[in-house]
């Protein structure tokens, strides 16, 4: 449990560094999280994945199946790992402001 300062506001993070409140998400947070998840530079493709994850989460309340994410974004799993070295369940979800997926992942 910790807090980070984002544009003058204290934002709460859970034990794994994910947002406690998904509604706290904003673009400034993405830049902060990028550093801890080994994302050097945020490109258009990163944003494509982030926006896709946010849209899906808004609709279904969870992260999409990894294969569905690949199919819908047109990226291979390898490319997703290149974009988010810590993986789709950790890095990509964290940057998109989703809660950390629980269970056997």
């Amino acid at each position: 449990m910790s807090f980070i300062a984002v544009e003058g506001k204290q934002v709460e993070l859970d034990e794994d560094g994910f947002l406690v409140e998904p509604s706290d998400w904003n673009e400034a947070i993405v830049s902060i999280f990028a550093k801890s998840e080994d994302v050097e530079e945020l490109t258009e493709e990163h944003w494509k994945v982030i926006n896709y994850l946010r849209e899906y989460f808004k609709k279904f309340g969870m992260a999409p199946m990894v294969r569905k994410m690949c199919k819908d974004t047109g990226l291979t799993l390898k490319q997703i790992y290149e974009l988010f070295p810590t993986g789709p369940a950790k890095g990509a979800c964290k940057l998109a402001g989703l809660p950390k997926p629980t269970g056997c992942v």
């Binding site: 794994d16 969870m62 990894v66 294969r67 369940a89 629980t102 269970g103 056997c104 992942v105």
Partner: protein, 449 residues
């Protein structure tokens, strides 16, 4: 000593219906819970009373071999509880204390319990080599249960219990999300086979209730697809329950009352949908929980429980399978091969699906745990998890080049790829056994005109 895992904070503990015991009451509450378990769990008392410290278990425990930590030597791990048991529950221990190997229960003991009972994978390999059959997993299960009754539990376990309460599965998949996943998998199968293969959800009057691992709805899609193709080909009346989209039962891994609730959920779903057969998906500990404890939790039940690998093995001769040009080995999930009755079935299935099957050493009931067993998948324990996976990495390395490592359990499926990468073992695929069945099925695609 600070345990190497994140514990759930009080508000989270309360949110899943537990209370937190104040430190000054830790001892009293622990002894009350031990007394309860002494009466309800006879096996535990046998495990606590019979050890002769012969040391046979040390070289058989991947946790001790991987970490080199004395307290991970099974006899030493069990001793953490045994000493407390002796001090408060035996005459010799009450009278002679330390001279009789007894020890007071204090905060230091408590920290050791949290640390070391969460470095045991409950794999039961020690029990196989113990001349008295002492099963440290039983001691670990009891210790974790007592800790949770004090309100001490890993955040990881608490998050899963919380998701389970909300959705009936570990990942928090709602029915809406489940239906979306199902639609996606049906489209994938349609594209591949040209056939309309369904994954029925909550279909009333189903003969078979199939209980998948919820991870099959996130990362392990091919396992669910393999199962759907099999049921489709056999033409059976089956369904999956959105209320229990989960073969896992993490209660077994941290609190026995939570386990009972999940068992009862399974029973309710089977009764509601009218199933006479419950088929459990690829999940190791969940198989143990369903097979061993469903009747204990719900009384006699009007359905039979089988594992999907048992079911598939029984129907193997009815499936149109071709042999894929692959060299495949099998990792035996601990809860299948030690006391779970599943050793030969996956081997027969794999042999029917691929050209070459090779055994790792040791294998079957002697196989080593992946190091993630009993739910040790916490990110903060990554370094320890890699040590726990060291024996598994050595086993795979000794095989030389393979094409596919079959791991029919979701915990193993989450742990093993990380272990393989950590030890520089790459260049092969990893996945379930049912995944292979799905890929080996022969379809006569309608000729394109």
């Amino acid at each position: 000593m600070k345990p190497p895992l994140n514990l759930a904070k009080e508000s989270d503990v309360n949110a899943i219906g537990f209370t937190v015991t104040r430190p000054e009451d830790h001892k009293q509450r622990t002894l009350e819970k031990m007394a309860e378990l002494r009466d309800s769990m006879r096996s535990l008392m046998v495990m606590l009373e019979t050890c002769t410290k012969c040391g046979n278990c040390a070289q058989q425990c991947h946790s001790y071999l991987g970490t080199g930590d004395y307290n991970n030597f099974p006899a030493a791990r069990a001793e953490l509880m045994r000493r407390v048991y002796k001090r408060y529950f035996t005459t010799a221990g009450k009278m002679f204390g330390r001279f009789n190997g007894a020890e007071e229960f204090d905060e230091e003991t408590l920290s050791k319990w949290v640390t070391y009972f969460y470095q045991c994978n409950e794999c039961r390999r020690c029990a196989r080599y113990c001349p008295f059959g002492i099963d440290t997993a039983e001691v670990t299960i009891a210790a974790r249960h007592i800790l949770s009754e004090l309100g001490i539990m890993p955040k990881f376990m608490q998050s899963i219990a919380s998701a389970m309460i909300k959705s009936g599965n570990n990942m928090g998949i709602s029915k809406l999300a489940c239906l979306d996943c199902v639609e996606f998998m049906e489209e994938e199968m349609q594209e591949e086979t040209g056939l309309d293969i369904k994954i029925p959800v909550d279909k009333p009057n189903s003969d078979i209730l199939y209980v998948p691992s919820s991870a099959d709805f996130f990362t392990n899609v091919d396992t669910m697809i393999g199962v759907a193709k099999m049921f489709h080909h056999l033409g059976v009346n089956w369904t999956i329950p959105s209320s229990v989209l989960e073969a896992a039962n993490f209660g077994l891994l941290f609190n026995l009352d939570v386990m009972r609730e999940q068992n009862q959920r399974l029973n309710a779903a089977a009764l509601e949908l009218g199933a006479s057969l419950v088929v459990q998906g690829e999940c190791g500990h969940g198989w143990r929980a369903a097979k061993m404890y469903t009747e204990g939790a719900s009384g006699p039940v009007p359905f039979k429980i089988m594992h999907v690998l048992e079911y598939c093995d029984e129907h193997l001769h009815e499936l149109p399978l071709r042999k894929l040009p692959m060299k495949v080995t099998l990792h035996d999930p601990c809860n299948y091969s030690r006391g779970g009755g599943i050793i030969e079935q996956p081997r027969r299935i794999i042999r029917a699906c691929v050209e070459e099957f090779v055994e790792m050493t040791p294998t079957g009931a002697d196989n080593f745990c992946c190091g993630g067993g009993s739910g040790l998948l916490m990110d903060e324990m990554l370094e320890i998890r890699m040590q726990l996976g060291k024996k598994k990495a050595e086993q795979i390395k000794a095989l030389g080049q393979i094409d596919y490592l079959a791991i029919p359990c979701s915990i193993c499926k989450a742990q093993i790829p990380t272990v393989m990468k950590h030890y520089g073992l790459e260049g092969f695929e990893k996945g379930g056994v049912m995944d292979l069945v799905g890929k080996a099925m022969i379809y006569d695609k309608p000729e394109e005109e």
